[in-house]
């Protein structure tokens, strides 16, 4: 969106306070969602939202809105000011971002930004046609999201990001397979290939068997690795969670708790992901090591949690979008280092006897401090026998401690995949995890669900 920075500057100018921060989020996006090989929920969104934070003395107030005329800005500033006046003093008030050198990033593609409804529908059609006779469910989406942050302390930045995603669930009432692809440039997308991959996987899932509950060796495909780690990371690698004693990292920083093959960072600068230049407070992005060779290294911080931590803790540039700010700093660009396996088949061979999991569904955190969560496998779960994929399995319930899953990791693939972790609620903010497939010596299956298929 043109003019986002100017709009943020106007919002700052409209507010009265000792410090002011304005965040503009502008979105232009299209979703061609299909089911049973027919587009059924096509959604085009155009919006601009404004978030204003006003500091008066040691009091902070915020307000948000989407009216961008002068009257709308005045009303917004008034509400933010009233909120500040009503708030008690905050003894650990965070400072506003100052002018800084921003990193150079990729992630904005003109061709992707130019995609309109016709092109979005065509790319969805490509997936539908490639699935042939197999009904396919999913979507193609593309969008442009602009974030501008201006503070009265001197920061003024605007970044425009593009993103695209194709998702395909190929399914009948007896079989199902899943694939997805995410990129910031449409030239890197192939929705037809995504659909073909889902169809091929679905074709191998008929006549699924149940599995006796117990602890199994397992290979997790990248979608499963991404979602499990993202859920774990929201508590484990959050500086706020560390302060509040719900992070697994508490009391363990600097210690080796995971297999030495496991290295995890948060890296929003990586062009293979969905790059971001600065966070929603205007703090520049940087690569943050979280786990290095199995050693727990650190967490991510925003300015509010950093101020509360004291001890010269600084923000690492992980302030969340305004709608999620209450949850504290969040790692939205997880990156797991690849291993030495040249293929998933090599991991399956390493595991020998176990299970293969394509993706997981509906995770729930049972106990954050120990990283215990539960969920179901879905759309491509298989038994591994004699180092090869064997019979398909029904959807399995699992209850795992993620640290246990990472304690002994026989291998990871060299290649990593960008697994999309956004579900496109609220204002568009695309994010994902760069992850390899991973083999583990322990994955606890606790029950059987229904067979594949819808």
């Amino acid at each position: 969106m043109k003019g986002a920075l100017e709009l943020a500057e106007r919002a700052v100018a409209a507010a009265e306070g000792d410090g002011v921060e304005a965040v503009v989020q502008a979105e232009r996006s299209g979703f061609a969602r299909f089911a049973g090989s027919e587009v059924h929920q096509p959604t085009l969104i155009e919006n601009v939202s404004l978030f204003l934070r006003v500091i008066r003395g040691n009091r902070v107030g915020t307000a948000a809105g989407n009216r961008v005329d002068d009257e709308g800005l005045r009303a917004l500033a008034l509400r933010a000011g009233e909120a500040a006046d009503a708030a008690p003093e905050d003894p650990d008030l965070a400072t506003l971002a100052e002018a800084s050198q921003l990193p150079e990033i990729e992630g904005n593609d003109d061709e992707t930004a130019a995609l309109g409804p016709a092109e979005q529908a065509q790319l969805a059609a490509a997936a539908i046609e490639a699935a042939g006779d197999m009904p396919v469910y999913g979507f193609f989406t593309s969008g442009t999201a602009t974030v501008a942050v201006v503070t009265s302390a001197g920061f003024a930045g605007e970044q425009t990001s593009t993103d695209t995603m194709a998702l395909a669930l190929a399914a009948t009432d007896r079989v199902s397979g899943y694939a997805e692809q995410t990129a910031w440039a449409v030239r890197d997308m192939d929705p037809a290939a995504v659909a073909r991959q889902a169809v091929e996987l679905a074709g191998r899932t008929s006549n699924a068997d149940e599995l006796a509950p117990g602890s199994y060796r397992a290979v997790l495909g990248p979608y499963a690795v991404g979602e499990i780690l993202q859920y774990f990371a929201f508590d484990a690698f959050s500086g706020l969670a560390l302060l509040e004693e719900r992070s697994y990292l508490g009391g363990k920083l600097g210690e080796r708790h995971f297999d030495e093959k496991v290295s995890i960072a948060d890296d929003a600068l990586d062009p293979r992901g969905l790059p971001k230049q600065f966070d929603f407070e205007g703090v520049p992005k940087e690569r943050v090591p979280l786990v290095e060779n199995g050693v727990l290294r650190g967490a991510v911080w925003d300015s509010v949690s950093a101020a509360r931590a004291g001890d010269s803790q600084r923000s690492t540039g992980h302030a969340a979008p305004p709608a999620l700010r209450r949850w504290g700093p969040l790692p939205f660009a997880l990156s797991v280092a690849g291993g030495e396996a040249e293929s998933v088949d090599e991991l399956i061979e390493l595991v020998g006897d176990g299970i293969y999991i394509t993706r997981v569904h509906y995770l729930g955190v049972i106990e954050p401090r120990h990283g215990i969560l539960t969920g179901m496998t879905r759309d491509g779960t298989f038994r591994i026998r004699d180092g090869k994929i064997a019979e398909p399995l029904v959807n399995l319930r699992f209850t795992i401690a993620v640290p246990d899953m990472l304690t002994e990791v026989p291998g990871l693939t060299r290649e990593t995949t960008l697994a999309n972790e956004a579900a496109f609620y609220d204002e568009r903010f695309a994010y994902g995890a760069l992850v390899p497939a991973l083999a583990t010596a322990r994955f606890d299956v606790t029950g059987n669900g229904g067979p594949p298929g819808i």
Partner: protein
């Protein structure tokens, strides 16, 4: 706003739409949260815009625009029709007939929750937090929310509906930790507490400050409580956990769009089929589920849904047999039964979906103690903590913040980290008692996710405590 919506509908029809509707929405919402006796969040969000839905050649199109004026209306209509025209393939869609209505609705309220000064809201939270102070409690949180929304719907069939909603709610949480484990206790529910379609008087009735000491004490006590042992046993679920059980294992599977597979790519489908209507045994004869968008105080209470279908109470399960679905006009037409009435959109920027309204487990008889009385050995689960259920809504696992032994008909010692698991119709088939009307409570939750792009729905569930036999508690030994 009506004129703007009419402009959008006219533009859509001029662009080739055979059907069009337009929703203009102006929403203001506030969330005030305090944490560890400091203000954590004071959000005051205004959002307005128009969403236009069209049918062109049997294909849907939807577009929205934040400009709630004639230009925004026309632009949204043109983009919606162009998207519908671009849809690949051939399409055929019928909508169940509905009598066009011209009507209005207004949430009953004594005090508009938005009008309550922010300072009063903050003070209420801080007072509740003050009452939660406890040496073992590391984090206390209190929050209240308020919302006011005006929504105007105009359709090409002649429907014009103007609705004025308010909502509000609140809750408190205490997290105790001892360096090894952490334990959460909240009231009156988890994640945002509980909300109602009502004025600020609802928040005052919650008694957050009154309940705060108990919440903190129980969080601290959980640190010393034993882990709930695994067993196949009798369980009693409190009304809060029952509300979520209803939501996940009867609400979502009876959404007819899930039954037809249109949610398969995200939230999932359903173990139910269209032909199960009227014959499938969902649970025991004590199981009676109703969808009621007329319930006073419900978050799913309205005069008309987002297709302009008037609110009507509908039986979903009667005496354990499936007898209804949650429907849209499109899915009702496909089923050949019903007329819609459950279509709801998240604000102006999303397309309406089949959503729960207020879905209730109808009460039985007796008190909570009566439910315990017939249990020699069992577990009482209180207040949800974790939830997970498969894509067909069959296999679920829920955890609660606290559990209690039941021994010889009485509540015994406290247990922590309690979970139970089951398969939906088997579990409901084991229902052998539901508490009476005096134990029935209405809960409102605001975080029900569905759709791509994602949408949040605000729904309510009324439930009484209930008892189930032969349930797997904890993780079964392998």
């Amino acid at each position: 706003m009506r004129a703007v919506c009419e402009e959008a509908v006219a533009a859509a029809l001029a662009g080739g739409a055979s059907y069009a509707d337009a929703r203009g929405v102006v929403r203001r919402s506030q969330l005030i949260a305090t944490k560890n006796r400091r203000v954590d969040q004071v959000d005051d969000v205004e959002s307005e815009g128009i969403g236009v839905r069209v049918l062109v050649g049997g294909a849907w199109g939807f577009a929205c625009d934040r400009r709630l004026d004639q230009t925004g209306a026309r632009d949204a209509a043109e983009r919606a029709t162009s998207f519908a025209k671009a849809a690949p393939g051939t399409h055929e869609r019928a909508l169940a007939p509905v009598e066009p209505v011209q009507g209005a609705y207004r949430t009953q309220r004594e005090q508009d929750p938005i009008d309550v000064p922010l300072g009063d809201k903050i003070a209420l939270c801080l007072a509740a937090e003050e009452a939660m102070q406890n040496a073992a409690v590391k984090v206390t949180t209190a929050f209240v929310r308020a919302m006011r929304e005006r929504k105007v719907l105009v359709s090409s069939e002649g429907t014009v509906v103007d609705q004025d909603f308010v909502e509000c709610g609140g809750g408190i949480e205490a997290t105790a930790a001892d360096g090894e484990i952490s334990q959460l206790r909240s009231y009156p529910s988890i994640h945002g507490g509980s909300s109602a379609g009502a004025g600020w008087e609802y928040v005052l009735t919650l008694g957050l400050e009154r309940e705060a000491p108990r919440v903190a004490e129980q969080a601290a006590a959980l640190l010393r409580a034993p882990i709930c042992p695994a067993a196949t046993t009798t369980v009693v679920l409190d009304s809060d956990q029952m509300a979520l059980q209803v939501h996940e294992s009867t609400g979502h599977p009876t959404e007819l769009d899930r039954v037809y597979g249109t949610e398969a790519a995200y939230a999932g489908t359903s173990f139910l089929g269209p032909d199960d209507l009227g014959s499938l045994r969902y649970g025991s004869e004590l199981m009676n589920i109703t969808a009621d968008p007329t319930t006073p105080g419900g978050l799913g209470t309205f005069g008309y849904d987002d297709e302009g279908v008037p609110a009507v109470r509908t039986a979903i399960v009667e005496a354990g047999v499936l007898c209804g679905f949650l429907t849209s006009r499109e899915t009702a037409a496909k089923l050949g039964s019903g007329g819609g009435g459950s279509m709801r959109a998240d604000g102006w920027s999303r397309m309406p979906l089949v959503r729960m309204t207020n879905l209730h487990l109808e009460p039985g008889e007796g008190t909570l103690d009566d439910l315990f009385a017939d249990v020699d050995d069992g577990v009482y689960f209180e207040t949800n903590k974790s939830w997970s259920i498969d894509d067909k809504r069959l296999n679920f696992q829920f955890g609660t913040q606290v559990a209690w032994e039941i021994k010889q008909g009485k509540r015994g010692r406290m247990l922590r980290d309690a979970t139970y698991t089951g398969v939906t119709p088997v579990f409901w088939g084991s229902l052998d008692a539901v508490g009476g009307p005096e134990t029935w409570a209405l809960y409102g939750l605001t975080n029900c996710g569905k759709g791509q792009p994602g949408q949040h729905a605000h729904v309510s569930h009324g439930a009484a405590p209930a008892r189930f036999r032969n349930v797997q508690v904890g993780v079964a030994p392998s």
